[in-house]
Symmetry: C2
Subunit: 351 residues, 2 copies
DNA sequence: TTGAAAGCGCTAACAC
DNA sequence: GTGTTAGCGCTTTCAA
C-alpha cells in the first residue's frame, strides 16, 4: 500500500544486524573471513529486509561486469536464433550474462557498439558483423576481448571463429558435379560478408576449374529477395539445374519458388543446396541438402576464446579458428554417383 | 605494444582539458549549462584520450540502468525468436538495452530472475514464463515494473499481454466444424501454461457444445514430442481427421508425420491447424492454417506498459491486455462451406 | 575476525 | 558558467 520505496542497501542490513557494512559485504563474498555467528545475523537481517547485493555497484569497483555484449543480426533467420541460444547457454555456464544488440543485417553496427562499450561489458561477441578499424583499435587499447563469429577480418588483432566456408562450398561444388549437373547458379547473401565471399570464391573456383560457368545473383540473405532471384533465374533463357544458395534460409525460398511456381520436381529436375543446416532443413517438407555449420561448436569455441583472453594470459587475441562441418545429403538434390555415406540418422557426403 | 591499460575517466579528461571533472560530466549531459568554449576543450581532450562515459557509474547514481531484463524460452521456436526481435527493436527505440535470459522452457526461472534483479534492471519482461508469488511481491515492493508476455497470472499485481487465446481457439473449432470434420484431436503444449490452458478450454468447449469429443495429447511445445503424439494418434484405432496443435511448431511436426509417414493428403484427408503464425507457416512447402498472434503488436503493447509504469503515473500495473489476431487460412485445411475472406495477400476466416 | 576509511567513476546540488 | 562537495552501493586495504 505504501509508496514504492528504494531497495535496501548493505547499510540497512548492517544497521539491522548491528554490524558494520563491510561485514555485510563479507557475508556475500564467497571466500571472505567471517564468523559463523555474524554471518547468521547478517543473513537473517538481509532476508528480513529483502536485501539483494547491487551488482552495478560491485562491477563499478571490481571493474568487471560479468556481462558480455552480443551483437547479432536478424533473429528471423533461424541460424542466428540457434547461435544466440547456444551463446546464451555457454555464457551462462561460464558465469556471464548477455547484453543483447540485434544489429541491422547490413551496414556497420558501430553506433550500437559504442553504447555497448559504455556499459563496460567484459567482452564483445560479434555475430556476422565486424568492427570498424577505429573501434577495433580502441578495444585493443583498453584490453577488451573481442571475437567475431561467422566473420573474419584482415585485422590481425581481433579473433574469429568461422565455419569451413571454403571447404564447405568446395564440397558442394564437387557434389553437384558428381550429380552430373550442367548449368550452375549461385545465390549470394551479402556482397560485403567475408563469409559469403569465401563461399562464393570456393564454389566458383571449383566449378571454374571443371570448366563450368556459374550464373549469379545477390539476395542479401533475405527470404523475399531470394525468391525474386530464383524466379528470375528459373524463368530465364537457360535456367540452372543446380543452385547453391549461401544460406539455408535463401535455399528454402528458392525451393518454394522452384516447386510451386515452376512445377519442378526437386531432386530430379533441379538440385538446390543451402548452407548452415538450420533446423528446418531437416523437416520432411523441406529436406534440404546443405553444409552444416556446427552452431554449438562454434559458440563454445568463441566463448572459450573470450575466456582465454579474459584470463589475460595474452593467448587468444588475433586467433582465427575454422570449425569444420559436414555436407548433409537430403532430398533436395539428385543422387550423386558416389560418396554418400549413410550414418543411420542422416546421410553425409564424404568422397 | 604496451600492456593493456584501463579506460580513461572523466578525471583524466578534466586534467588534460584543464577544467573540473564536473565540466566533463556536463559536456556529456544533453541539457547541461556549459559554454561553447569549454565544451570544445573537453570534447577535444576526450577524443584524444578515447574517453567514453561509464554508464555503470551513471546508473549507480541515477538509480536507472536503462537496461531491461528479458526472460524468454527456447529461441529454436521461431515464435520466440520473432518476439525477441520485436522486443529488441521496440526497446531500442525507447532507449533501453536488453539483458537477456534464455529461460528453460519448463519450470520456473526464479534463480535466473534473482540474478537479473541484482543487476538492477529497470523493468522485467517475461515471455511465456511467470513469476513466483514471492518474487512478484518483491518486485512490487521495490516498484519494479514487470510484464508477462504470452502468459497471465491470477496475481493481480503483475501486468500481462496475451494474444486472443480464447477467441482464437474458438474460431479454430468453429472453422473445423464448418469444414465438416468429424473426429477431432488436440495437441497441447505445456500443461502448466495459462496460454495453453485457455486454448484448450476454448477448443474443447466449443466442440463439446457441438457434441464432438476430442482426443488429446501433450507435446510440451517440442517438435519431436509432437511428432510422436501425431504418430500415435494417426496410427490409432479411430484416427482424427482434424488436429489442432497449440503451436505452429508442433503443427508443422504433425504435418510432416501425416504426409510422410501416413501418406495423407493434407487439406483433404486431414486438416491440421496451428497457433502463432510463425514465418514458416507461410512457406509454400508448409502452408499451414493458423491463428495469428500479432507479435509486433504484442511486443509494442508490452513495452508501452513498461514505459507507463516507469513513468510512475501508477497506471499500468496489474493490467491485462488481449491482442486480437486473425485465423489465416492456408492449404493445410479443408475448405469450409463459408466465411473465408480473400484479402489478396492472404485469406482469413471471418464467419 | 572485524570496523573505519578510502575509493570505483560518475551526477547533482550548492556556492561562487 | 564553473568548481567544490557530497554521495550512489559496494569492495578493499589497513589497523585494531
Amino acid at each position: 500500500m505504501a509508496a514504492p520505496r528504494r531497495a535496501p542497501t548493505a547499510h540497512d542490513v548492517a544497521a539491522l544486524a548491528g554490524v558494520s557494512q563491510s561485514a555485510v559485504s563479507r557475508c556475500f563474498t564467497p571466500g571472505a573471513s567471517i564468523s559463523e555467528e555474524t554471518r547468521q545475523r547478517v543473513q537473517a537481517a538481509a532476508e528480513q529486509l529483502g536485501y539483494r547485493p547491487n551488482l552495478i555497484a560491485r562491477s563499478l569497483i571490481k571493474r568487471r561486469s560479468t556481462i558480455i555484449g552480443v551483437v547479432i543480426p536478424g533473429l528471423q533467420n533461424p541460424f542466428y536464433a540457434a547461435m544466440l541460444e547456444a551463446l546464451s547457454a555457454d555464457l551462462a555456464t561460464a558465469g556471464y550474462r548477455i547484453l543483447l544488440f540485434n544489429a541491422p543485417a547490413r551496414g556497420t553496427p558501430d553506433p550500437v557498439l559504442d553504447e555497448m562499450l559504455n556499459y563496460r561489458v567484459d567482452a564483445l561477441i560479434l555475430v556476422s558483423s565486424s568492427l570498424s578499424s577505429g573501434l577495433a583499435d580502441e578495444c585493443q587499447k583498453i584490453g577488451l576481448p573481442v571475437v567475431q563469429l561467422n566473420r573474419t577480418t584482415e585485422r590481425s588483432t581481433v579473433s574469429s571463429v568461422v565455419g569451413d566456408n571454403h571447404g564447405g562450398a568446395e564440397a558442394i561444388a564437387r557434389f553437384l558435379l558428381a550429380c552430373e549437373h550442367e548449368r550452375f547458379a549461385f545465390i549470394a547473401g551479402l556482397e560485403t560478408s567475408s563469409t559469403g565471399k569465401a563461399r562464393e570464391a570456393a564454389f566458383l573456383g571449383t566449378l571454374g576449374a571443371a570448366g563450368k560457368p556459374v550464373a549469379r545473383g545477390v539476395a542479401n540473405y533475405a527470404f523475399e529477395e531470394a525468391e525474386g532471384i530464383a524466379r528470375q533465374m528459373l524463368g530465364g533463357a537457360n535456367p540452372p539445374d543446380a543452385i547453391f544458395c549461401a544460406s539455408d534460409h535463401m535455399a528454402i525460398a528458392a525451393l518454394g519458388v522452384a516447386r510451386t511456381e515452376f512445377g519442378l520436381t526437386i531432386g530430379r529436375d533441379i538440385s538446390i543446396v543451402g548452407f548452415d543446416d538450420i533446423q528446418m532443413a531437416g523437416w520432411p517438407q523441406i529436406s534440404l541438402t546443405t553444409y552444416r555449420q556446427p552452431v554449438r561448436a562454434m559458440s563454445s569455441r568463441a566463448v572459450a576464446m573470450i575466456e582465454a583472453q579474459l584470463q589475460g594470459t595474452g593467448t587468444g587475441s588475433g586467433l582465427s579458428e575454422v570449425v569444420p562441418g559436414d555436407l548433409v545429403v537430403r532430398g533436395s538434390t539428385r543422387e550423386p554417383a558416389h560418396g554418400v555415406i549413410d550414418l543411420g540418422y542422416e546421410r553425409v557426403w564424404r568422397p
